[in-house]
Symmetry: C2
Subunit: 268 residues, 2 copies
């Protein structure tokens, strides 16, 4: 709808309410670039993040995605949670029995902790603590900026859309049964040619991308990336060689398949 | 211009080129809220920031500002450099002869350092190193997200506007004399009533702000802030009590005044 609006009027902005988890933010952002548009996609989420100086999960990992086409280079595709890490990262460290770095998550007291299992237990029980916004604890590394970006997403996806915000995105009945989710999204499509000939824009993107990638590397580093580049390369590899699935995911797919009487492709 | 466009068409987006330092991002963002619009303001800047895994200043502190009106509460006003700190912060630590925290800036080798005077010397001489993006060094604390936000600003303010980007915003002649600056900006105004009745939006903003502020505090903290709140309070205090100026600024103003034959208000 945003793309159709932009085709007619130059810019299309669409807010969505009464929704649920929308998958991958970049899936929608990338739709715009095939139409020579800049694509914007945001969503609020379940509350997992603690505001700066707080100790209760009040905001989501609220991702922001912006995509822009280039000419010879791959598109720019920023798709970032506004938290310092996603919850999945804590689970990986828990599985590996490693301490998490200070500045990723806080305990019940709202202070930074290295104890992933405790944070995950507390998050599940909503007992206090949670993931920190991008920039970490307090203001020393500008955690208030990540916190501000997550509020920004709640404003566009909820205050503007009439969806639920802060800790109210997944409501429950008084006796704890889940009600329909009240997640909101925001999508934008901006036609490049209302500002500048598309080829000039794409050439500028190419030059910007090359200048960044070709700039000198830090000691110990061999490569500077552009956002989306790692994921595009992975997709190309998997299209060539097939998709690698962890054993647990295979087992889980086979179990669901058996329940529904459907065979997985590798079982046929 | 963005506000006028939004009055007529619901949304107004304007890109600017051939410009220079535009002052305070929030000055422009706040213009929109008096018209019951969301205001957006971005600019690219002189290159001061090192991309993730790089060691040369290739991008600006490129601020992003988004403002939204509330009803009884003060407006939301996020105005954030996409770097972890501004250059001024390094200068404060230098003056106080303090070490800067690891994760703020890198030396010539592109690795995190605590030595503010050395970083500032290298930055001035463009000898390598510079300020880190929001999220710090490498990917451990998601420095690639701050890096991505700064590229996003260059895309809107330069690739879209036809302005200069990366390290080319302040060009010089071959023998080092400064040429006119080629900074770009991007402004947006979004009419709230094209999505939802303004009063409903503002009431949602009030509820969101109160829920965040009233949520439990981390140990040792007494207050959770909303973005812009500290600055609004400071402005109110200074409107009441006058503006406190450091001695050096007073001397500098008096010197300029003497050169121009103008007295400062406190000299009359």
């Amino acid at each position: 709808m945003a793309i159709e609006k932009a085709k007619k009027h130059g810019v299309g902005l669409v807010a969505v309410r009464n929704s649920n988890h929308y998958g991958i933010a970049a899936y929608y952002g990338l739709m715009a670039i095939n139409h020579d548009m800049i694509g914007i996609s945001m969503t609020n989420t379940a509350p997992l993040v603690v505001p700066t100086f707080g100790r209760q999960m009040m905001i989501g990992t609220n991702p922001i995605c912006v995509c822009a086409p280039a000419n010879r280079e791959r598109p720019f595709c920023l798709d970032m949670a506004t938290s310092v890490v996603p919850r999945g990262k804590l689970e990986v460290y828990q599985r590996q029995e490693r301490e998490i770095p200070l500045g990723w998550a806080v305990g019940k007291d709202g202070r930074s902790t290295t104890n992933a299992p405790e944070v995950l237990r507390n998050m599940l029980a909503r007992a206090g603590g949670g993931i920190l916004p991008l920039g970490g604890e307090g203001e020393l590394y500008s955690g208030h900026k990540g916190y501000g970006l997550s509020v920004l997403v709640d404003i566009f996806c909820a205050a503007l859309a009439g969806a639920a915000f802060t800790a109210n995105t997944y409501p429950k009945t008084k006796d704890g049964r889940p009600l329909p989710s009240l997640i909101g999204h925001f999508f934008g499509a901006i036609r490049i040619d209302i500002f500048r000939p598309v080829e000039e824009f794409k050439d500028a993107m190419d030059r910007m991308i090359r200048q960044l990638k070709e700039s000198p590397k830090a000691v110990g580093q061999s490569r500077i990336y552009i956002h989306g580049e790692k994921e595009f390369e992975m997709a190309e590899k998997q299209r060539r060689e097939g998709i690698t699935l962890p054993g647990r995911v295979i087992q889980s797919l086979e179990k669901i398949g058996a329940e529904l009487g459907v065979k997985c492709p590798w079982q046929e």
